[in-house]
């Protein structure tokens, strides 16, 4: 399949007519195109224009990163990888090739981010299908940093080529996010591996496990420069920002939204708890506008409303108004999270983004065998409680109520009563979410930590 070699547009960006475009501020050239290109986001534009040392603080020479992503069931993996690839490219001047195992699924995701067919350069990131021939392998081996995201398995022919290679890139397994204490003990430990095809006496290859996390002893969280400022901007005039946001999907809803209405986003997995919560929202004395993302939450909402739902559709039950919104570009989703009073998020990527939005959140954690996910939820709740510092009795009670709501939700239990107890405490919880955001922001972000590690290994 011929490769489309031009930067693609991104939703909500700035149009600039130019003949060629250099994405990386360190001078690394990417293929150019005639006419218009669309820059990713205003904050990133500024970052692109800065000298590399100013934007990253760690970059000295342009690096090449091969980032491998296996798309498993949802768009969580590719979502994190795409975010990381963009940040490495735009803020650190890294030349990133994002290798995906399922190009069709990747295309569906990239379409939601405003990009057309793959393979292609998208916002400076070279997005391609899993390497399959010697030219690809040689390219991967020339890279400085090889990341296998979420413990994905590299293609066997590539491992064979790595076994025969004289030099290997710094090899990292980017692990899943967890707040459990063992993460800090495992972060930056390595596997010593005898690669297939390697001579018997060859020293073992070293693959380092890199754990995202919530403490300085981990790799931190993905956080683009300017993200918190963007949230500040969106939250400066919330009623007006909300109106503008809602107009994109449903102008009438935007104009008729009650001033005291709660705005809630819902992006979760299926759970038996959902019906009880929706009923509580419908019975509440305060109106709620529930913005339901396309995907796995929708079936539960449709079942509760006893009707099929389409994007753009509005349905009311008592105090509850439901608006179905499309799967959106990542920057738009940040804005949505920023403007809601409460965000129901799931998995890893939306969970992290909701924390940067500094709004109370419900974490629907990815269900695991033997209920392992419940331990991870407890670990997060405990860590957050410990790290947000001393609080008064009221704040402590609010935090407990939110924690209990998450436990019930994740175990599929009736959440109705808990919601009635929790809802009046949302403003106090917002303050706590702000403290948590500030606490997290004091740590280096994941992309910077990764590059620091790569540089330390390359020396």
């Amino acid at each position: 399949m011929p490769r489309k070699s031009q930067p693609e547009g991104s939703a909500g960006g700035e149009k600039l007519p130019r003949k060629s475009h250099t994405w990386a501020s360190n001078g690394a050239q990417f293929p150019s195109t005639e006419g218009c290109v669309i820059l990713p986001a205003p904050g990133l534009c500024a970052a692109l224009r800065k000298p590399l040392a100013e934007t990253s603080g760690v970059s000295e020479q342009p690096l090449h990163c091969a980032l491998f992503c296996a798309i498993v069931d949802n768009f969580g993996d590719i979502g994190v990888c795409w975010r990381l690839a963009r940040q490495l490219t735009h803020e650190h001047g890294v030349r990133v090739t994002l290798w995906v195992d399922d190009i069709v699924a990747a295309e569906r995701f990239m379409a939601s981010q405003g990009h057309a067919k793959l393979p292609a350069f998208c916002e400076g990131v070279d997005v391609r299908h899993w390497p399959s021939h010697p030219g690809d392998f040689a390219e991967v081996l020339r890279s400085d940093l090889l990341i296998e995201a979420f413990a994905c398995h590299l293609p066997r022919p590539l491992l064979d080529a790595m076994g025969r290679a004289e030099r290997l890139p710094v090899w990292v397994n980017l692990e899943y996010l967890s707040a459990e204490p063992w993460v800090a003990e495992h972060h930056l430990l390595a596997s010593l591996l005898h690669l297939p095809g390697a001579a018997a006496a060859r020293p073992p290859a070293r693959k380092t496990f890199f754990f995202p996390g919530f403490t300085p002893a981990t790799g931190g969280l993905l956080r683009e420069s300017g993200l918190l400022q963007r949230h500040d901007h969106w939250q400066r005039n919330v009623p007006e920002s909300r109106r503008q946001l809602l107009r994109r999907w449903h102008p009438r809803v935007a104009e008729t939204l009650a001033p005291d209405a709660l705005l809630i986003s819902l992006f979760s997995y299926e759970t038996a708890a959902m019906a009880s919560w929706l009923q509580a929202l419908a019975d509440d004395s305060v109106p709620t506008l529930l913005l339901v993302s396309q995907g796995r939450s929708l079936a539960g909402v449709a079942a509760f409303l006893e009707q099929p739902l389409e994007v753009g559709e509005v349905v009311c039950r008592g105090a509850l108004q439901v608006l179905v919104i499309p799967f959106m570009a990542q920057d738009d989703y940040d804005e949505l999270l920023s403007l809601c009073d409460f965000n129901c998020v799931r998995g890893e990527d939306s969970f992290v983004r909701a924390q940067w939005a500094a709004r109370p959140l419900l974490w629907h954690i990815y269900p695991q065998q033997e209920q392992a996910h419940l331990q991870k939820l407890e670990a997060f709740l405990q860590l957050q409680q410990a790290q947000t510092g001393p609080c008064d009795a009221l704040q402590a009670a609010s935090a407990l109520a939110l924690g209990q709501f998450m436990r019930f939700w994740n175990q599929g239990e009736d959440c109705g009563e808990l919601w009635h107890h929790l809802r009046p405490q949302l403003s106090g919880l917002r303050e706590r979410a702000g403290k948590w955001q500030q606490h997290l922001a004091e740590m280096p972000d994941l992309a910077t930590s990764l590059l620091r590690f790569c540089r330390s290994q390359s020396r």
């Binding site: 692990e175 006496a201 890893e348 695991q368």
Partner: protein, 175 residues
């Protein structure tokens, strides 16, 4: 077998990571150069297993700097202190424990003690009256010089069972 060297797993710890994947943290020792390292692996990583020759041996004597063991054919096997690891803590003249000598390429690389051994206490402080539950511990010294925690009711001259995998006291034994 990793990178041309045999490694021994000294300790392993299994942890569930995200989305039903698991990882295993392991403390490994290179059996050729003694280097120890802490590593982490995906639970489905595969290794080439090393088949090591093993022989039953008993400790005979110390001929500085080598510790000499004999096998059932009375052949002598010499090993350095560095290769004895924590076994050195329990080496005593006259010990009768049947140990396992582990060979790689005809070279002895380690000695394994039985999981449970019995050793005499040569010194410990007298116990306070009433400490008979076995839950209260105190320090005791063995002939080899190793100090360990034993039940408070143990006295000088008592024999105790020790778990060599953990180095922990198991019980007092009658002799």
């Amino acid at each position: 077998m990793i990178g041309g060297s045999p490694w021994k797993v000294q300790k392993s710890e299994f942890t569930k990571s995200g989305r039903n994947t698991a990882i295993c943290k392991m403390k490994l020792k290179n059996l050729l150069n003694g280097m120890q390292t802490e590593t982490v692996y995906k639970a489905d990583d595969k290794f080439e297993m090393v088949i090591l020759e093993q022989k039953e041996v008993t400790y005979s004597y110390f001929a500085d700097p080598m510790y000499v063991f004999v096998d059932t054919d009375y052949e002598q096997i010499e090993i350095e202190k560095e290769d004895l690891d924590n076994v050195i803590d329990y080496i005593e003249d006259g010990m009768e424990d049947v140990c396992n000598a582990v060979f790689y390429n005809d070279k002895v690389i380690s000695i394994d003690l039985p999981n449970t051994i019995v050793r005499e206490i040569i010194y410990t402080e007298p116990s306070a009256r009433g400490d008979t539950s076995g839950k209260v511990m105190k320090t005791a010294r063995l002939k080899s010089g190793k100090e360990m925690s034993v039940s408070a009711f143990c006295e000088i001259g008592d024999f105790v069972e020790i778990d060599t995998r953990t180095g922990e006291y198991k019980s007092r034994v009658k002799r």
